[in-house]
């Protein structure tokens, strides 16, 4: 979170605790100047407190600083004398007798821009003077001493107490529960689901029909619909294990990684440009994207998957290819959005670390780590010290470097050359841009020298050569040689100069981090402000998980150790990471997570609907050596996955949100599957993987001033390869709730907004796909064995099957036939070209727009 000054300064400053000093009230200032006895002065002081101070405290301060209301901003409470004495995280709030030494007075004076209370607006000057007087009087306070600052205090950020939160507990493996409908479950997951349903007297929905199950399985595993042959083959397959075979075939498909890799890319905030303030192109980000897709296809165990993304540049390798693959994976740390211009370099380092920790926290641990940047986490057991223990690992890592771009030296994402001579090629390329102005000037000078030579201006040439020696070939100055030869020499030299001034092609390189030269611990930044360093904390991990100190070699950042810790079930966060991942897999397959707040398993997240099931799935994941495919396979082969989405009045009354899974959740296709399915129906989808789809763009990915850059979307590739330009997403992504690539998104929003309707009804890409589908239907797939055209009713069935993978009812068939006939008549009457194709196009378009296409049953 962004530093929020007012609320955090108290929390984050560490100031030595001043022993309260009792000073004599200033006789001149004291309200009862004539009072001399202690008792009297005390009474007067008490009155003063009651009249001038207490009302203000209660009106202006208790809302954030009250033990009764359990509000302890910055650890400070002001509703008891003990409260201000003990003070907050910065120490005592008051030094009785010494207003200038009192933090509270400092705060209400509003003189320190980082310490201003109350945060909304300053107290009236008169009130401030009252407080100053009160402190000079020794801060008399009539309130009970009895309220103990610490008693019953429940500090949410306490890492030890935090271990009781369900997500941090060890995995629990109870025996399978007893169920009445013992014949229903196919897998252990089913037994947990059924037991929970039965506990509420509910029953699972009947199995979905085979067509529905087929469509669901295709989309959820590979993001594509089955084609007509695949539907037919599955419907024909009577073998007991037909579905199992199908699932295995889909898990083996190279399209699997394109679907499931994209789920990870949502978490990794993958993008092809920086976004935020300066939207510079990430020309090489696609290598990371394709690495993720390949990793899912290869079922790279999740622990290794994380290790390479966090520390791939530090790992040993046996071949250059392996080295480059691992390094490319670590692009995960580099592709975040960053404020690039105008900010302080130190600030940027802290912002980058914050962005990385926020991503790691949410994506891997389901924790909002970023909240602890400015203050101890207000809800979860993450103290600020733990945040900076992790931050030290990130600030010991370079992800940025100085590079020349657009004629300036800039701080940009770090790039490293790939291949055996990658470093040399990269260095040569960068050197060119550093020197390009000189090189171009020199080429011009070379031309000028040639002109002088050709025009016989010997004297001027000599003078010129003295100034611009490098632009002139030595031999061309040699007057003893024939002129022709001298000209030839200079021409040759000029050619070299021109070649040197021509931009070289970009060598293969990738976004790769490295450890800094001197890795070290990070200082807590007070109130999250980069320029207010506090105490240093040793690099390490979250103490809520384990007290064991991190063993990080002095010369390294600690990223390897962090990656190991994340999946270490014994001593690290392995159980938590397994829960987070298992929950995500369940979410993608079943439509909702067991914990629906998939990026937040903290105290502000939701509790699991089926805690034992979640632990069972997490355990399976660990037992299978973190095989994501094995977990997916197990869930997809369950009976729970195969339920129909049928409505049930009784169940709906008990559980309207279907948390207990009495039926399958209907879900939207999402933009990628929506587009890919249209292109698949049209027969225009190119199923091959793609490299960069942004290489044609200039260095700024979106337009500013004269720059007219615009990403293209007309590639016939699968949607996962389309350009993900932050702040300029392809329209279909933007409209249909693609993940905002600025931050981890485990749960894409599912909105229904008018722009979606407008897109489906009017976008040319939809109409183009409809037309291609119509042509295919009319030209090829609607011929019978003899090559004769099938009757329109058969064609309508083919169309329905091709787009929706189901058969029309009689009503639907008749409605479509009538529509097509009438449309054709209308278009013919209007003199339209190809009225038949057009009429079928409009009908195909209608099916693309229909809810059966857009929603998975």
């Amino acid at each position: 979170m962004k530093p929020s000054l007012h609320t955090v300064v108290w929390a984050c400053l560490i100031v030595s605790v001043a022993e309260p000093v009792r000073a004599q009230p200033d006789a001149l200032e004291a309200p009862a100047a004539t009072a001399t006895t202690t008792a009297e002065s005390s009474t007067a002081g008490d009155e003063y407190f009651e009249k001038h101070i207490r009302p203000i405290l209660s009106q202006k301060c208790y809302s954030c600083h009250s033990s009764r209301a359990n509000k302890r901003e910055g650890g400070l409470v002001l509703d008891s004398r003990a409260g201000w004495r003990a003070g907050g995280d910065r120490g005592a709030a008051l030094a009785p007798g010494m207003p200038d030494e009192s933090l509270l007075i400092q705060a209400i004076r509003y003189t320190d821009e980082n310490l201003q209370m109350p945060p909304d607006e300053p107290l009236a000057p008169g009130v401030i003077r009252d407080f100053e007087r009160w402190v000079r009087m020794g801060a008399p306070d009539t309130r009970l001493e009895a309220i103990d600052h610490e008693a019953g205090m429940n500090v949410p950020s306490d890492p030890v107490a935090g271990r009781a939160h369900w997500a941090f507990r060890p995995l629990h493996r109870p025996p399978l529960p007893q169920v009445q409908a013992a014949g229903w479950p196919k897998t252990a997951s089913d037994t947990f689901v059924l037991a929970r349903l039965e506990a509420d007297d509910l029953r699972p929905a009947p199995d979905a029909d085979r067509r529905t199950l087929l469509r669901r399985t295709y989309f959820l595993l590979i993001g594509l619909p089955p084609n007509a042959q695949q539907v037919a083959a599955f419907l024909r397959d009577n073998r007991e294990d037909a579905f199992e075979r199908l699932v295995d075939q889909l898990l083996d498909s190279s399209h699997f990684g394109e679907r499931w890799g994209r789920h990870w890319l949502d978490l990794a905030r993958y993008a092809d440009s920086n976004g935020l303030d300066e939207n510079f192109l990430f020309r090489e980000a696609w290598r990371y994207r394709n690495w993720v897709i390949d990793a899912f296809n290869a079922d790279l165990p999740f622990d290794a998957f994380l290790l390479q993304q966090l520390a791939g540049d530090l790992l040993p390798y046996e071949s250059i290819e392996q080295r480059d693959r691992q390094r490319t994976a670590a692009g995960f740390l580099v592709i975040g959005p960053k404020v690039l211009l105008g900010n302080n370099p130190q600030e940027r380092v802290m912002d980058v670390a914050d962005e990385q920790l926020d991503t790691i926290g949410k994506a891997i641990l389901g924790q909002t780590l970023g909240c602890a940047r400015c203050h101890d986490h207000k809800f979860d057991p993450i103290p600020t010290a733990d945040y900076y223990a992790l931050a030290g690992i990130m600030t010991s890592t370079h992800v940025m470097q100085q590079r020349y771009m657009l004629g300036q030296q800039r701080v940009m994402e770090r790039l490293v050359g790939l291949g055996p001579d990658g470093n040399t090629a990269n260095a040569a390329y960068e050197k060119y841009w550093r020197e390009s102005k000189t090189l171009q000037a020199r080429a011009k000078q070379g031309q000028a020298a040639l002109d002088l030579l050709e025009n016989g201006k010997e004297e001027e040439l000599g003078a010129f050569a003295k100034k611009q020696a490098e632009a002139v070939a030595e031999a061309s100055l040699d007057v003893d040689r024939p002129r022709e030869e001298r000209i030839a020499m200079q021409q040759k030299h000029l050619a070299t100069l021109v070649a040197a001034a021509t931009p070289p092609s970009i060598p293969p390189r990738a976004m790769i981090p490295s450890d800094v030269e001197q890795p070290g611990d990070e200082a807590i930044r007070l109130a999250g402000q980069f320029n207010r360093p506090g105490k240093k904390v040793p690099r390490g991990f979250l103490r809520v998980v384990s007290d064991a100190p991190a063993e990080i070699p002095k010369t390294q950042s600690g990223r390897q150790e962090l990656a190991h810790w994340l999946t270490d079930v014994e001593h690290g966060a392995g159980s938590l990471a397994a829960r987070v991942l298992a929950n995500r897999v369940w979410h993608h397959l079943m439509g909702r997570g067991i914990v629906r707040t998939v990026d937040n398993l903290g105290r502000t997240g939701e509790a699991p609907s089926h805690p034992e099931l979640l632990d069972a799935l997490a355990s399976r994941l660990i037992e299978s050596d973190w095989s994501v495919k094995a977990l997916i396979r197990e869930i997809v082969l369950s009976r729970s996955f195969a339920m129909s989405s049928r409505h049930d009045e009784q169940a709906h009354a008990v559980d309207p949100e279907n948390r207990l899974l009495w039926r399958a959740h209907r879900r939207r296709l999402g933009p990628e599957a929506f587009r890919d399915a249209m292109l698949a129906a049209a027969g225009t989808l190119d199923p091959k993987p793609l490299d960069s789809t942004v290489s044609y763009l200039g260095d700024q990915a979106t337009a500013v001033g004269a720059n007219k850059n615009r990403r293209r979307t007309d590639f016939p590739c699968r949607s996962v390869y389309l350009p993900v330009i932050r702040n300029d997403l392809p329209e279909v992504f933007d409209v249909f709730d693609f993940a905002d690539p600025h931050a981890t998104t485990g749960l894409r929003p599912e909105t229904i907004v008018a722009t979606q309707g407008l897109f489906v009804l009017n976008d040319t890409s939809v109409m183009d796909a409809a037309r291609a589908t119509a042509r295919t239907l009319l030209e090829t797939s609607c011929l019978d064995e003899t090559g004769a055209t099938q009757p329109a009713s058969v064609r309508v069935e083919r169309m329905f099957e091709r787009i929706l993978h189901t058969r029309p009812t009689n009503d639907e068939r008749e409605a479509l036939l009538t529509f097509i006939r009438q449309t054709e008549d209308r278009l013919t009457a209007e003199g339209a070209e190809e009225p038949t194709v057009q009429a079928w196009t409009v009908a195909c378009h209608a099916l693309f727009a229909s809810s059966r296409f857009q929603i998975l049953d």
């Binding site: 929020s4 000054l5 945060p119 935020l276 303030d277 300066e278 404020v339 690039l340 211009l341 105008g342 909240c371 809800f379 629906r596 105290r603 502000t604 939701e606 049928r646 409505h647 709906h652 209907r666 879900r667 337009a703 500013v704 001033g705 720059n707 702040n727 300029d728 905002d740 600025h742 749960l747 929003p749 599912e750 909105t751 229904i752 907004v753 008018a754 722009t755 979606q756 309707g757 407008l758 897109f759 009804l761 976008d763 040319t764 009812t809 009503d811 639907e812 409605a815 479509l816 529509f819 009438q822 449309t823 409009v842 378009h845 209608a846 727009a849 229909s850 809810s851 059966r852 049953d857």
Partner: protein, 473 residues
Amino acid sequence: MRCHQFYKTLTRRDVLRTSAAGFAQVALAGMLGQQAGAEDTLAPNAAGPTQWAHFPTRAKRVIFLFMWGGPSHVDLFDPKPTLNAEAGKPLAGSSVGSDAKQLGTLLGSPFKFSQHGDSGVWMSELFPQLARHADQMCVIRSMHTEGNAHGEALLRLHTGQANLVRPSVGAWVSYGLGRENENLPAFITISPPRGHGGVQNYGSAFLPAAHQGTAIGSAEIPIAESVVSNLGNRRLSPALQRTQLDLIQSLNRRHLQDATTDKQIEGLISNYELAYRMQSTMPQVMDLASETQATKDLYGIDAKPTDNFGRQCLLARKFAESGVRYIQVSTDYTWDHHQKVQEGSVAESAKVDRPIAGLLEDLRRRGLLEDTLVVWGAEFGRTPMVENGDGRNHHPKAFTMWMAGGGVQGGLTHGSTDEFGYAPAENPVHMHDLHATILYALGLDHKRLTYRHAGRDFRLTDVYGNVVRDVFA
């Protein structure tokens, strides 16, 4: 989509307000909030105050005139005799402090300033038309913000933050006030910048997507050539499209029948109708042909150099009249005068002076000015010091914005800068304060207009912002 008034969202809010069960439920409500777009979009609409109406409503809508690049306040609204007197000398003075040495020398303003209207608001000669409305304007001379580069400053102006993606001001307004006209979006941005944060500057971030600004064209495209994406079908006649939609809907209703009940299918069905209505309403509103020649002349349409901005401003009035809550009009990236600030200011002022004056006049004549808050400004101002011989650099430390209409006290000058226009001297107004003040004019309390996301409540002003009550009558 008036928000939070009907059963579904009310239930969600009720959970927030009344739950004694603590955070689990609150967070759940926040999570489900991500999926509440459907209800928000589809709820019946009304113009009345929503549950967010915290204060008396001064304005019902906002028109924000954005001068992309950063106009020079000392050449337009903030006269500085001392700056002129000391031109060529290094900047010095109490508010400059230790920076003075590296800041460079002062560049005087060649423009003549005078007082206008009964109230005597100061303006330079570059806004002769606007000057006639001086008594309607409240000029805030003490604006300040962060961000030395355009990108960061634009994001702060439009969303309050730069290093995290946050909802834009217009999205918050849409969320807080809902839709007045069910067939139009609540937030429209005319010719928005594509760079420097681009769509983030009118995005909804974690607010439901329905609150995102609807863009008409983009800054580099003349407005006359701009369209709203997919607002109409280029291949099907309206009659054919209607029969197609009827077919789609009959298929959908059959699907819904099979499902018995399903929010998503129901949502899809209503949404097609909404889209269809929008695509007939928007072009009607956007059609300038129905405007009289006199009105067009008022805005400088069909005349150089005012045509483009004139059209943008007239569109803004038409949207305001049709019930759009937040309308932004942006210039192209033309106010960034690192060189030739004098020529640049002359040229750019000439493009916008008559259109803006025309807008104020038109709104006034139609009785709209009293409940339309017009705000003029940019991401930052420009330095009193010289750059490149005859230009000025970016200057977030102090600059001028002005407001008119919407309950604002006309003829007022609020705040001041030091003798050079380098730093605010009296009543500084931070960008967060401006945001709080805009919401206040709309009857919204910036501290109470919140949205729960990722486990906590967010607001436009984060933990900052003070309403500048003095600017209101």
